[in-house]
Amino acid sequence: MKLAQVFTVLLSLLKFILNNLSLTVADLKPGQKGVIADFTDSKLPVKLLELGCLPGNKVELLRIAPLNDPIYINVNGSHIAIRRTVAEQIVLRPVEDPSRL
């Protein structure tokens, strides 16, 4: 019993670390591209997916608004602007050398 609990805790810790290490759309700099891997939260509005934010699709950060929010992206051909809080939920596929994006 105890071992199982420890294991569960370790697993959530690992998840937490991975989440914070993972690259999201919010981390992109203007001009950088990425490929969508997953979402941190399945409560992401369906509308976002309908606009093309699907796992496997390419996303490019076009511009950031002067006050750092919202951000203007090109996802799967759709040019849309979203707030940072939503962008942070879109996880990208890890890349070896992010500076080469």
Partner: protein
């Protein structure tokens, strides 16, 4: 074929759907409302090549049938309910060739509802520039449809659409996505329960929160099998559905839709570098705002003055042409004045919509929202609140309606509640007349005090809006996921035809919406002002004549006569010699006497009219509230005007005109008459700096527009909010005006 074909026009926003609608229907369009809500219903008709007629309804633009706003819900309601008046025989889905992949999502959903659909691919004129190529036959077969490749800008393809509509019965009506693939077990059970229903339709009923005709949501929800799906699970299934749909679309487009990646979107991105620049972006926006305000306030003066003259002339004509009597009075002073009061705002409203429509058509409006969102959020507003706030400077009614695209309910509610604080055009006549009465002439750094005061009032309006928003943001406990998405379309040259139609439509809706109420109020006011039940009212002439004979003229009349005589004397120079306008002394004295007699007569008539008004129904109402307004520096006459302007602010000036010149034939301006008014307690001028500022502040903050309250009620679906607005704003206005008067005096 006697019954017309019913066509529903659907599509994503920014696909040129409106242009397609305009091209199909020309001027045969009518704008109204869907029953019970303020979403506009645009319908029109056209003749098909085979002679039959088609009735086309332009449904609100939406990205998907999973709706996030009221506009979009209308689309689902119409398409799901076979008994709906607008339920179509055929759907025309408009897409944009550059965003075809995303646009097709809606298309697949509509096909899945079993509605025969025609695919319109618009903006074909941009294909070569973007390196796009299409294989229409492949697409037609893979998507089970017929395609019309269209360019509304070049007027190509519209006839093909009409042809396809005429032959709508040849369209395949099969579904594209096999819904069961979302979750086979769940849908298996669902279909067992409802074997005759369209499975996608059932799915929409479960996930959407709207009213339906045939399938009852309650029935479904209560079934024990479906209680097992939580919100989160349903959401996940919707995600899966979207993934499946895009797989379908990608497969359909493979080999049939090619984009040359090297033909980049350079024009738009170059412009964006300027328009969303951290400094220039805001500067440019500010300059554009300045331009809009210049148009609304400066340029529209010319048509407004013209309208004013025409209506005054018409009123005079009526009085002269028709026999005197109640009906003539009603027509000249009640009805014409009422209609005039509405028509005079048309230039400003039209200019405002012209600019907003231009900004939207070019695609610039999204950039404005992009720039402003971060600034508006601390106040509980959204970047999308900027359009309503700007529109509010012309009229709050269309402004409140423009909040429909704000997804977050709290942000939307706050925007609706604070927009009436922005200085609308109806406040201007009040501001202008009071400012010119009490603010001294003179300039500071080249700007006149009067202009400065006006500017300050505007800033005050915006400040009040922003701060109330902040307050409401703290107070209102409404949870809701704030999710904000806005499409950034490519910049394009606006199609003037669309702009024109939009301006005409919106102006028309303002005139009919606000117009009905204002007209009704004007007639009521006229009635209340020309009738009275008291003895004094009936015997007004007798009483006043007696009073004048015994006590002399009123202080007001005396000051008026004196001022007029001085003006007269100064205007006719006296000289014994040969100056051109000179007359000799005796002749001048005679003419002064004649003038005095004339003025006395006019003053007498004026006093009688004023007395009658004072004892009319509305006069008595004004007297009744006088103790309330005295501490603010007003008298019963202003009290009446404030009461009446609760119906519509601009009525203030009209009421004062009535109060100061009912029955008079003099063409004295209201302003002049008001300047002679004496405050009985202080025996000084009634309209002084203190009372003037108090009045200005009152009008800046009070909620005095029945029409706006009506629209707020419709948009928020309850009486609670408009009543709260009315209560809060009026109390606030009263307190501020009170403080101002007591403080300055």
């Amino acid at each position: 074929m006697s019954t017309p074909v019913k066509v529903a026009l659907v599509g994503n926003p920014n696909t040129g759907k409106t242009s397609v609608f305009n091209s199909l229907t020309g001027l045969n369009q009518k704008v109204g409302n869907y029953p019970g809500i303020t979403v506009e219903r645009k319908a029109g008709s056209c003749t098909l090549p085979n002679g039959a007629k088609a009735q086309i309804v332009d449904l609100p633009g939406t990205y998907s049938l999973n709706t996030t706003s009221m506009d979009e819900s209308v689309v689902v309601e119409v398409l799901m309910n076979r008994n709906d008046a607008d339920f179509p025989d055929v759907a025309v889905v408009v897409t944009d060739v550059e965003n075809l992949k995303r646009n097709l999502l809606l298309f697949t959903q509509i096909k899945d509802l079993g509605i025969p659909s025609i695919l319109v691919i618009n903006m074909s004129d941009r294909m070569s520039r973007k390196g796009i190529s299409l294989e229409l036959e492949k697409l037609e077969s893979r998507l089970s449809t017929r395609i019309a490749l269209v360019s509304t800008r070049k007027h190509i393809g519209i006839d093909r659409i009409k042809e396809l509509i005429a032959n709508y019965q040849d369209l395949p009506d099969n579904a594209l996505l096999d819904i069961e693939r979302i979750e086979p077990e769940y849908f298996g059970r669902l279909l067992k329960l409802f074997p005759d229903e369209n499975p996608y339709k059932l799915w929409l009923v479960i996930t959407q929160d709207i009213n339906f005709g045939t399938v009852e949501k309650a029935r479904l929800k209560s079934d024990v099998l479906f209680k097992t799906k939580s919100e989160a699970e349903l959401k996940r299934m919707q995600h899966r559905e979207t993934v499946l749909r895009y797989q379908l679309i990608n497969n359909a487009l493979k080999g049939a839709y090619e984009i040359d990646p090297t033909a980049a979107k350079s024009f738009t991105s170059r412009l964006d570098r300027v328009f969303t620049h951290r400094i220039f972006g805001y500067l440019i926006f500010f300059l554009i705002l300045l331009l809009i305000f210049q148009a609304i306030f400066d340029w529209s003066q010319y048509p407004m003055d013209w309208i004013d003259e025409r209506f005054a002339a018409a009123s005079d004509w009526v009085k002269n042409a028709l026999p005197p009597g109640i009906f003539t009075d009603l027509l000249a002073e009640g009805i014409l004045a009422g209609i005039g009061g509405i028509v005079i705002f048309i230039p400003q409203i039209a200019f405002l919509f012209l600019f907003i429509s231009l900004l939207e058509e070019t695609g610039y409006m999204s950039r404005v929202v992009f720039l402003m969102d971060r600034l508006m959020r601390p106040f509980g507003l959204s970047g999308k609140s900027i359009v309503p706030l700007i529109s509010g400077t012309a009229c709050a009614i269309p402004a409140v309606m423009a909040t429909r695209n704000i997804e977050n309910w709290k942000e939307r509610l706050i925007t609706i509640l604070v927009t009436p604080f922005t200085t609308c055009s109806a406040r201007l006549p009040v501001y202008l007349i009071i400012i010119s009465l009490v603010i001294p002439k003179g300039t500071i750094m080249g700007i006149s005090y009067q202009a400065l005061t006006l500017l300050l009032l505007y800033i005050l309006g915006f400040a009040a809006a922003i701060f109330s928003a902040m307050l409401l943001n703290r107070i209102l406990k409404i949870r809701g996921r704030s999710f904000f998405v806005i499409e950034m379309p490519g910049y394009r040259v606006p199609l003037m035809k669309n702009v024109f139609y939009t301006v005409v439509e919106k102006t028309r809706s303002f005139v009919y919406g606000a117009g009905k109420i204002i007209l009704a109020i004007s007639i009521v006011l006229w009635f209340l002002g020309s009738n009275g039940f008291s003895e004094e009212f009936r015997r007004a002439e007798e009483i006043v004549n007696k009073r004048i004979d015994t006590e002399g003229y009123s202080a007001y009349s005396e000051s008026y006569i004196e001022a007029k005589l001085t003006e007269f004397r100064n205007g006719t120079p006296v000289s014994p010699t040969t100056q051109p306008n000179a007359i000799n002394l005796k002749a001048q004295q005679d003419s002064v006497q004649a003038k005095t007699a004339e003025l006395r007569e006019s003053a007498r008539k004026q006093e009688i009219a004023s007395f009658r008004l004072e004892h009319s129904i509305i006069g008595q109402m004004g007297k009744a509230i006088e103790p309330l307004v005295k501490p603010l520096g007003y008298d019963w006459k202003i009290g009446i005007a404030i009461l009446t302007s609760f119906a519509a602010r601009e009525v203030f000036v009209g009421t004062l005109a009535t109060i100061y010149s009912v029955g008079s034939d003099q063409e004295e301006t209201i302003k002049n008459r008001m300047s002679y008014e004496i405050n009985p307690t202080t025996n000084k001028s009634l309209f002084n700096l203190a009372s003037g500022i108090s009045l200005l502040l009152f009008y800046a903050f009070a909620m005095q527009c029945m029409s706006t309250l009506a629209v707020v009620k419709k948009e928020t679906n309850s009486w609670r909010w408009p009543m709260l607005q009315l209560g809060f704003m009026t109390v606030f206005a009263y307190l501020v005006a009170l403080l101002a008067y007591q403080f300055i005096y």
